[in-house]
Every structure is written in C-alpha cells, then in structure tokens.
C-alpha cells in the first residue's frame, strides 16, 4: 500500500515537472496554478492563475498536457499488460515486445497507414492494431505453452520467430507504401510521443481504463495460475476463460499504446520485475503498482527523450530499448543461474 501511495505521488510530481520543462520553460508552480485555474473554471471557481509567459498557457495545454497524459496512459497500459502476460505464461520474461504482441499490433497500425483506412475515424488505427495484436497473441499462446507453463527457451525462440514474421510483414508494407507512408512508418516504429494530441488521449483513455478495470477484477485468479494450470483449476478457476480474458485485455492495452506512439519496448518487463522485488508477486498489489510504475517510467523517459539533446526529440522506443535490452539480458542470466539451466 505504501508503495502504491509513493508511486502515485511520484507520478503526479513527475507529470507536473514533465509539463514544466521544455523549450519554453514554465515553473512547476505555474503549471500547478494553471491546472487549478482550469479545474476551477469547470466548477465555477476563480482559483489559480495562468502562466506568466504569453505563450505559456497555449504551450502547456495544446502541446505538453496531451503529451504527458498520453505518456502516462501508455506507460500504465504497458506496465499492466506486462504483469498480466507474465502471469498467463507463468514466466517473468514474458513481455509484449519480446514475445511479439507489440509487433502484431504494429502490423495492424502500419496497414492502416499504408492503405489509408479511416472507416472507424480516430479509432481505426487502435481497432485494427487490436485485431492484429489479438491474433498474434493467440498464436503465440497456442504454440508456446506446455503443461500450463512456458519455458524460457520456448518463449524467447517463439519471440524471435514471431518478431521475424511481423518484421517481414511490416517490411512488405513499407515496400507497398508511398514515400510519405514510408517515412511515417519508419518514425512511428521508433516510438515517440512527438505530436501527441488530445484526440489520441480521448481515444486511449477509455480503452486503457476498461482494460485496467478488467485486470483488477482477475488479480486473485492470476495469483492462482502461479500454481500451474491444473492446481488453479482444482481451486475453482475457470482456466480457459481466464486465459482468454487475459489475452483480450493484454491485446487491448498493448494495441491502444502502440496505435498512437509506436513500439515502446521493455516497460512491461522492467516495471513488474522491480515491483515484484519490492512487494512480492501477489497480483493484487503487483498489477496496480506496475500500472503506476509504468506510467511514471514512461513520463520520465519521455522527458529525457525531448530534453537530452537540445532542439531534438529522440525516439522514446530507442531509449527504453537501450535500457531494457541489457536489463532483459540480466534477467535471463539470473534465471539461468537460479534454474541451473535454460529450463
């Protein structure tokens, strides 16, 4: 509980700082004042104040706020999705980008870019990404598990195979697309919150909210899966239904993130692992803490991405992979040492 409060406070603080820093600096106190002013305005109270810089208010509300909120939402989705995926596979190394769920979602999103589909308005990209992510996850799940668990080797090899196929499909889409679509795909694949709009926040927020509410309803059952599938069933878990629910939720969370900001890897690996080290594996705390921790990490990573180099917006996907890759290797090494092999 203390961890949840600490993460929540840290997330709010990080969000305020993230909204404050940038090419047009706004003091954190002014950010807070402006938020109060807006919220007060909705309920008819005259509190807070607008930033002193003439373009401060516009920069804060048109550019930074949607970006920070989208970063928090996507981070929350990826953290939660990682925790659920690990429970379902019975393996702490399962992660959306490692095993190929993110790649599956990317295939859908790239198809929308190349073929210019727009039949569902601003929901087109997330909807198609969800469909391809779901299909990919079901395939991975059907092929990677044995006796209710997935061995490390199987999982990693499976990820290589799935990522190879999705990369091939995306390469073909790049080949098909015109030069504008190509450029869009290349930058989108790197992962970035550059150009986040309120429209994206409005699409992603309800999807993530529904997904996370769904996860919270199944946390106790996810705990029981750690005993293996048969024992979980002996304790009254409808394993088939739980699996399917989990897979749909993971696909929903990953697709909503990937659809607007591209592939941001390893968040779902790092965050649940660190949380488990602090509060243990019980999903009733692991899931909400991973959600908050994922949001916190992505908000911070995005600040680094847009401030590390002056006048440049680095791809956040590149940054998380730079940190996450070695982290993944370290976890693999630990697993190998603990298990005395790759089992």
């Amino acid at each position: 509980m203390a961890l949840l409060v600490a993460l929540g406070v840290a997330l709010v603080a990080a969000a305020i700082v993230a909204a404050a820093v940038g090419q047009l600096p706004i003091a954190p106190s002014e950010v807070l004042g402006s938020v109060l002013h807006r919220v007060g305005g909705w309920v008819g109270l005259d509190i807070g104040s607008v930033p002193s810089h003439p373009r401060g208010e516009a920069a804060l509300w048109n550019v930074r706020s949607p970006r920070v909120l989208l970063a928090a939402l996507v981070g929350a989705a990826l953290g939660g999705a990682g925790a659920v995926l690990q429970a379902v596979f019975g393996n702490p190394l399962a992660e959306p980008s490692v095993i190929g769920v993110s790649g599956g979602a990317a295939v859908g999103a790239c198809s929308v870019i190349v073929f210019g589909w727009s039949f569902l308005g601003s929901y087109t990209v997330p909807a198609i990404a969800f469909a391809t992510a779901l299909g990919t996850t079901l395939v991975i799940y059907a092929m990677a598990r044995h006796g209710g668990r997935t061995e490390v080797v199987t999982l990693v090899l499976m990820g290589i195979a799935v990522n190879a196929v999705t990369a091939a499909v995306i390469a073909y889409l790049v080949f098909l697309g015109d030069s504008q679509a190509r450029e869009q795909i290349v930058f989108w694949q790197l992962g970035s919150f550059n150009g986040s709009r309120w429209e994206a926040v409005r699409v992603v927020a309800p999807v993530v909210a529904v997904g996370l509410a769904g996860v919270m309803a199944i946390t106790r059952q996810l705990d029981l899966l750690a005993l293996g599938e048969r024992s979980a069933r002996h304790l009254g878990v409808n394993v088939e239904r739980l699996r399917l629910t989990s897979i749909v939720i993971v696909s929903l969370l990953v697709a909503s993130g990937v659809a607007f900001v591209g592939i941001i890897a390893f968040i779902g690996l790092i965050v649940p692992h660190l949380v488990r080290m602090v509060v243990g594996p019980s999903h009733r705390t692991l899931v909400p803490a991973s959600v908050l921790g994922g949001a916190l990490l992505v908000v911070i990573a995005d600040v680094v991405a847009r401030t590390a180099v002056d006048y440049a917006d680095l791809p956040i996907g590149m940054l998380t992979a730079l940190v996450g890759g070695p982290f993944f290797f370290w976890m693999l090494h630990r697993t190998r040492t603990a298990a005395g092999g790759w089992g």
Binding site: L227, H234, N238, V239, R276, S282, A338
Partner: protein
C-alpha cells in the same frame, strides 16, 4: 466495486456442498477406460471413494495410479465409463463447485513466482471467497500450516524450499481448502520418515473426521499401517480391492510387482511388514 459485486452476485448460484453426511460414496467411478496415445492406460476400473475412509492406491510404475486420480479429480474425461461426485456426474459441476468438494495434491508442486508459503496456503481458500466460510480463512490457514509442520516457513518463498518442505507446504494448501474429499498423489515421496508418518497420520485423521481420502503411494508398509482400504492397480486394471490385511499378501504383491515380496508380522505388535525379497539370494549374500 460494481465488478466485485457482480461477481459476488454470480457466486450466489453456486451449489454449496452439504456438510451433513450424505448416503453413498463421495466419488463413484464405474467402468473407467482411458486411452493415451492409442494405448489403454486404464481398463474397466470401478472405484468407490467412501467418506470416513482412507483409500490407498498402490501399484507398480505405469499401473495408471496418477491417471486414475486425475479421472477421480475431474481433470480428465475418461474415454469410457462415468464418474459421479456427490451423486452427480463430474461434468455437471462448475470449477468452483468442484473446488468446494475436492482438493488435489499433485506430485509436482510448481510455483512460477516467489510467493511465500503463507500466500500459497492462503490460495487454498480461494473457492470460499464470497461465501460464509471466508470468515474461517485465517484460522484454516494457520491450522493447516501447523498440522503440516510448515509454520516456521510461513515467510519463506516457495521456490527457495527443499523438496520435502515444498511438498508439506503444498499439503497445507490442500488442507486449507477444507473439502470433504482429499486426493493426494504421492504426498510422502519427498519426505523423511518422521514427516511421512506425520502426513499419513494427518490423512488418516482427516478420514476419521468424516472426509473421503485417496492417497497414491509407493510405500506398501505405510499403506498397510494407515489405510482403511487398499486398491492395487496393475496394468491399468484393479488387481485387488479390500482391507490391507486381505489385499497385501505375498502371492498377490509378488505377482503384481513381478518381484518376490515377503509379507511378515511385526513380532511385538503384529503390524504388516512388507519386504522385497531377492531374486538371487546366493549372488547377493555370499558367505566365504
């Protein structure tokens, strides 16, 4: 909160087990036949699991003991025959309703994440979530850990335990489930002598208290000492079924195990002692 309330609402329709003694066996299996990869593993097996009895399931490797246990537990749908639990076909109960009636200890105790022993034992209470029995959770968990001698391990993580400690912790989880039927697959395999005796005494007590207990075991001496009834499986069918003294005889066991076995009486208290003989005594004991 509304999701939790909805789930609880669904739980109301659960058919709760009737704790007052019901007539007839807790599990009745008739004409069970199981085919695995084209080979018959069980062939026309009849078993009644009665309340108040400890039933030992013995037999050589590959006789079908674990398969029969998984059929009795409702895990495996047999190709032939029928299994009734509490008077109704196993297929007609939901997963939760089954979990309120029978608990199962598997041979392999797995734990994917570093849950503590206490957390694992608490998992045994899952079927009773939202039921009046939920009030007993704490007491059942503490009692089960004490009974299996794992209280001192409560805060240790399961993957860090030795094989024997893990087996006892898993048994505590099964006891915490507090069901009328206990199905235990080799609960004593990884245990030292003291804990073997302790665990079987526990199983016998549970039977004496009115539960139906099935224990798959290899140690025939333990079976003779603790079981009320012994079923000997051989080659996928029942070779004998009855009281230990009637079933565990030298001719039958020697034939089933394809190895000479002597059955003696303890000189002081008359307990059955079951001792493997030697094929070639002259080769193994050589006097010079």
């Amino acid at each position: 909160m509304s999701v939790a309330t909805t789930l609880r609402g669904l739980r109301r329709d659960v058919r709760r087990p009737d704790r007052s003694a019901t007539p007839g066996p807790a599990i009745r299996a008739r004409g069970i036949g199981v085919v695995l990869d084209g080979a018959s593993v069980l062939y026309d097996v009849d078993v009644d699991v009665d309340t108040g009895h400890l039933l030992a399931l013995v037999g050589p490797n590959g006789a079908g003991k674990s398969t029969l246990l998984s059929v009795l537990a409702g895990d495996r749908q047999p190709e032939r025959g029928a299994v009734e639990l509490d008077g109704l076909p196993v297929g007609s109960w939901s997963a939760v309703e089954m979990a309120m009636r029978r608990a199962v200890l598997l041979q392999q105790v797995t734990m994917s994440f570093p849950f503590t022993v206490r957390q694992m034992v608490e998992m045994g209470r899952a079927p009773w979530a939202g039921q009046p029995e939920e009030a007993d959770d704490e007491r059942r968990v503490v009692e089960s850990m004490a009974a299996t001698d794992v209280s001192h391990l409560a805060e240790r993580t399961v993957p860090s335990l030795s094989g024997g400690e893990r087996a006892r912790a898993a048994l505590a989880r099964v006891l915490a489930q507090d069901t009328g039927i206990l199905l235990l697959d080799e609960p004593t395999a990884a245990l030292d002598v003291r804990h073997q005796e302790q665990v079987l005494a526990l199983a016998a007590d549970a039977a004496a208290a009115g539960r139906a207990v099935v224990v798959v075991m290899h140690d025939l001496g333990l079976a003779a000492a603790h079981a009320d009834r012994v079923v000997v499986l051989a080659g996928g069918s029942v070779a004998a079924d009855g009281a230990p003294a009637d079933v565990l005889t030298a001719p039958l066991l020697s034939e089933v195990y394809e190895h000479p076995i002597d059955v003696l009486r303890h000189p002081q208290d008359g307990r059955l002692l079951i001792v493997p003989g030697h094929d070639r005594p002259s080769a193994t004991i050589r006097h010079t």
